[in-house]
């Protein structure tokens, strides 16, 4: 591993966001991390966790955590409640034909706590 990469990973940290039972099943909640707003999703049907930026890039609305989640084929996605643009929860790519994409974060669950990997501020 090059030193450069090692430094990069050190800039990230696992942030304990909330407890598992705080998150709605098959839906999202909004996490505050400093000035950052993160949408955290518990896709209970697939037993998968995802995190993305909360802001919808379309009209810059802090809304994605209130969107409905689901799948397109196998791809997990979230639909913005404002104008129903959809984004892949895995890659952040916009699935409804726009070029805008959203940031995604790694998530892990340990001892009933949900951790999100964030940049150290």
């Amino acid at each position: 591993m090059t030193t450069e990469k090692a430094i990069l990973t050190q800039d990230k940290t696992w942030f304990a966001a909330c407890r598992v039972e705080d998150v709605v099943e098959n839906g999202g909640v909004c996490i505050k991390y400093g000035d950052e707003q993160i949408a955290l999703f518990y896709f209970t049907r697939r037993n998968e966790w995802y995190a993305t930026q909360n802001e919808c890039p379309h009209k810059k609305q802090m809304a994605l955590s209130r969107g409905m989640i689901g799948t397109k084929g196998e791809e997990p996605k979230v639909a913005c409640p404002f104008h129903k643009k959809t984004f892949s929860l895995r890659t952040g790519e916009c699935l409804t034909g726009d070029s805008c994409s959203i940031k995604t974060y790694p998530v892990k669950v340990e001892d009933g706590l949900v951790y999100i990997k964030v940049d150290i501020h």
Binding site: I31, M68, G70, K84
Partner: protein, 838 residues
């Protein structure tokens, strides 16, 4: 090859478009047009008065010509042609040689020689320029007259009405309106309709003189009568513009039409004439469809020459002059041989002077074939009749059924599009046949009307054929077994109606159960709210329980409408629009406490905007404590039942409309449906509550209530239709129960009642049979089901604030409850706030 087109009108443009598509290797195209604007849609010229700008009417912008290598000169009419040396000169002095010259000079309005016709205030009706002049002059005109009661004259008369000249007259020389298209009875019905719309019609009048000094003040007729007016539009027919051809020595007809052969060649083989200036078989074709066909034939001819081929593929052999028009809002159509008569012909005539409908079919004596006909007031059957006529399709046994109004319980008769041969011309503007459309679907994979439009150009002209295009598409898809069933989305292979029955049968209560048992995959934003709505309509359980919260649309999930910036609106129910001063004060106090913007809505209640999600439970606690309930402004559910003040105060009121509105609103509050439902109760036919624009509307009569259904405001307003009359309150409620249950069970998702009815076979008569005559035998069951829903009602905001697990969901940050979203911003406006722009 140098090709010069004279005239940049509709046909001249179409010629260019078609020629470009052929990509001829060394064609140099030049166009000279007299008007200032690039070719525009003359057929929709009158839309100019409805606010369309010249650009909106334009068929292609000037850049289109440049992009396609066409040298376009506007405002530069050609002055003369010298066929012997293949040369022309324009007004601005351009001198050009050509190999092929195409005359597309159209026609001009015919100006009869009447004394005084040169006075100010006398106008023609053909170009954008004419319309500019009329509009400017009309500002000071109170009375207006149109000479000419034909198609164009009536359109001009409509324009005068649109310009606000309420006292408008039409003068026709013949004994009836539209003498070329209509017989006496048809013209009589049309005259009655137009008169009732405020036009004065004078037939059998010959104008002798136009009076006034410099400007027109009136008309005198040969019978000695006269008519005052401030403005006159002359629309007495058209004259082909053959002046260039006459001067050049080409063969022309009496009226100046340029004589052409089957290939649109004039007497000089290098010169073609197309459109309204061309005289074919002693006939001028004053319509767009034959003009486009001429353009097509001329283009093929030119391609043939350029390829040095001797094989001719297409000929012009005349054209059907059938037309369908909307005149001042009334359908008028005439097709085939509209006047056919005599021993060989059977005339079938339907005339209803009260409804303003006249229909005439001319059928062969043996009843087998349709020769032609006339439709006034209702021309829905035009397309099919025209096709039946043109393609000599065998008529059904009782051809009269084709024009009779559909009787109750009877399906609409007709030969149907399936009977049409492949050559049947569906889009006459672009000359697209049934075969071509079906092929686009089967071979080129078009599965939407838009794709077909792109692929074949069908429906891109006047768009009148689009319904048939769609039917053909569905039919072809069905034939291929490819018919896409009306399924919900990729997760459910059922229609909404099928799912409704299945969920009920299996007694499923949650979205997850439904998905597991009836669907596949993990759901999406389409099926989740649709299934949630079904569950609510079936069981009326609180929508946020049993894990159903995240399958609701975001608005249902937070029991409020999300608005710009991410705050929510709060709408308490105010049944019938009636509210006590005490409750008004509470609304004011709550709004002050939480800093909300307040507004009276269009639904007779009050909306409070700008609430943070974390404030919603407290706001609702205060409102509920004061006796309010949720207004379901966020749900696909009953919205408002508006009322007018009715017999309690109003001197005209026949019944107590406020009390009834409140009763109705309280009965159906919270009822979830495929889309929102709205209602209103008016105390008399003055209709101050606008009941006829509602999903179901009630109007008081001396005896009781008239019930109207399936009205709609929104982007495509539609008046509600009368379902039953003079009902007592209990019967009225029973009918509404049945009507709503039938709707809830059978409509597609997000379909308002108006759209639902529009798609229903048999329409209002069928619906009336189901609801009033109980033809399906479901009446009693539906009433019982509705009663169960009514009994299960609870205010969902009350449940939400009283249930801790639900209440805690109303937070912006899950890890910082109570903290508000810091990105929300407001601006101030008129002493209140508004959402910051996005």
């Amino acid at each position: 090859m140098k090709i010069i087109v004279v005239g940049n009108g509709m046909v001249g443009y179409k010629f260019c478009e078609k020629l470009i598509a052929k990509k001829l290797p060394n064609a140099e195209i030049t166009v000279f047009g007299e008007e200032q604007y690039p070719a525009y849609d003359r057929v929709h010229l009158s839309d100019f008065f409805a606010g369309k700008k010249p650009e909106d009417l334009s068929l292609a912008p000037a850049s289109w010509y440049a992009d396609n290598g066409i040298d376009l000169h506007l405002g530069d009419p050609v002055q003369y042609i010298r066929p012997a040396i293949k040369l022309l000169q324009t007004h601005k002095g351009h001198i050009r040689n050509y190999d092929i010259l195409v005359l597309a000079t159209g026609s001009s309005a015919f100006v009869p020689r009447i004394e005084g016709i040169e006075k100010q205030g006398v106008f023609l009706y053909r170009t954008i320029e004419d319309l500019h002049l009329i509009a400017a002059y009309a500002k000071k005109a109170r009375k207006g007259v149109v000479i000419g009661g034909g198609l164009l004259g009536l359109e001009a008369a409509k324009a005068l009405l649109d310009l606000g000249i309420q006292d408008s007259h039409v003068i026709e020389y013949a004994d009836r309106l539209m003498p070329r298209q209509l017989d006496e009875s048809g013209a009589e019905i049309l005259t009655n309709t137009l008169t009732s719309l405020g036009l004065s019609i004078h037939t059998g009048k010959n104008t002798a003189r136009i009076c006034g000094k410099e400007s027109i003040t009136g008309l005198e007729f040969t019978d000695g009568t006269s008519l005052e007016t401030d403005l006159l539009v002359v629309s007495a027919g058209i004259r082909p513009r053959g002046e260039l051809a006459v001067e050049a020595g080409l063969e022309t007809g009496m009226n100046g039409g340029i004589v052409v052969n089957n290939f649109l060649q004039t007497s000089d083989p290098s010169i073609y004439a197309i459109g309204e200036c061309a005289l074919y078989n002693e006939m001028i074709y004053g319509l767009i469809a034959p003009g486009y066909e001429m353009a097509e034939v001329a283009v093929q001819e030119i391609c043939r020459l350029s390829a040095n081929s001797t094989q001719r593929t297409r000929e012009f052999t005349g054209y059907d002059m059938s037309t369908k028009l909307k005149l001042v809002g009334t359908d008028v159509a005439s097709f085939g041989e509209p006047f056919a008569n005599g021993p060989e012909v059977r005339n079938i005539i339907l005339k209803d002077s009260a409804k303003g409908i006249y229909k005439r079919l001319n059928v062969t004596a043996d009843g087998k074939y349709l020769l032609g006909g006339i439709l006034v007031g209702d021309a829905k059957q035009y397309n099919l009749l025209l096709q039946t006529c043109k393609n000599r399709i065998l008529l059904p046994q009782h051809p009269e059924d084709l024009i009779l109004p559909v009787r109750e319980g009877k399906k609409e008769e007709g030969t149907g599009i399936t009977a049409l041969p492949d050559e049947a011309l569906i889009c006459s503007c672009e000359g697209v046949t049934k075969g071509a459309i079906c092929q686009a679907v089967s071979d080129q994979g078009c599965e939407t009307v838009d794709e077909i439009k792109k692929c074949t150009k069908a429906g891109t002209g006047c768009s009148g054929c689009l319904p048939m295009v769609k039917d053909l598409m569905v039919h072809t898809l069905k034939q291929q077994g490819k018919y896409v069933r009306n399924v919900l989305c990729e997760h459910f292979n059922y229609s909404r109606q099928e799912l409704f029955d299945l969920i009920k049968l299996h007694e499923l209560k949650t979205y997850n159960e439904v998905l597991d048992q009836l669907g596949k995959g993990d759901g999406c934003e389409v099926c989740k709210p649709a299934v949630s709505s079904l569950l609510a309509s079936l069981w009326n359980e609180m929508v946020l329980t049993k894990g159903n919260d995240t399958s609701q649309d975001s608005n249902d999930r937070f029991l409020a409408n999300i608005q710009r910036g991410g705050t929510y609106s709060v709408v308490p129910r105010i049944p019938g629009g009636e509210i006590t001063p005490e409750k008004l004060i509470v609304i004011g106090q709550v709004a002050q406490q939480y800093g909300l913007y307040t507004k009276i809505t269009g639904g007779q209640r009050i909306d409070l905007f700008g609430a943070h999600v974390s404030d919603l439970p407290a706001i609702w606690s205060a409102l509920i404590a004061a006796g309010f309930e949720s207004g379901h402004a966020y749900g696909k559910a009953l919205r408002t039942v508006k009322s007018c003040v009715g017999s309690t105060w109003c001197r005209f009121g026949l019944q107590d409309s406020v009390s009834f509105a409140i009763e109705v609103e309280e009965r159906y509050r919270g009822l979830r449906a495929p889309h929102k439902i709205k209602s209103a109760v008016s105390g008399c036919i003055r209709e101050c509550a606008e009941a006829q624009s509602k999903d179901f509307g009630i109007i008081a009569t001396e005896q009781g209530w008239n019930l109207y259904v399936c009205g709609n405001g929104g982007s495509k307003p539609q008046h509600a239709l009368l379902l039953a009359t003079d009902l007592d309150s209990a019967t009225c409620i029973r009918y509404i129960d049945r009507f709503l249950m039938f709707y809830i069970k059978t409509a597609d998702p997000l379909t308002r009642t108006a759209t639902w009815l529009n798609k229903m076979e048999g329409g209002i008569n069928y619906l009336r049979n189901v609801v009033v005559n109980d033809s399906l035998g479901m009446g009693a069951q539906w009433e019982a089901e509705m009663q169960a829903l009514v009994n299960a009602y609870q205010c969902e905001w009350k449940v939400a604030i009283e249930t801790p697990e639900i209440r805690k969901r109303f937070n912006h940050f899950v890890n910082a409850p109570g903290e508000k979203d810091p990105t929300v911003q407001f601006d101030s406006l008129r002493e209140q706030k508004k959402a910051a722009n996005w």
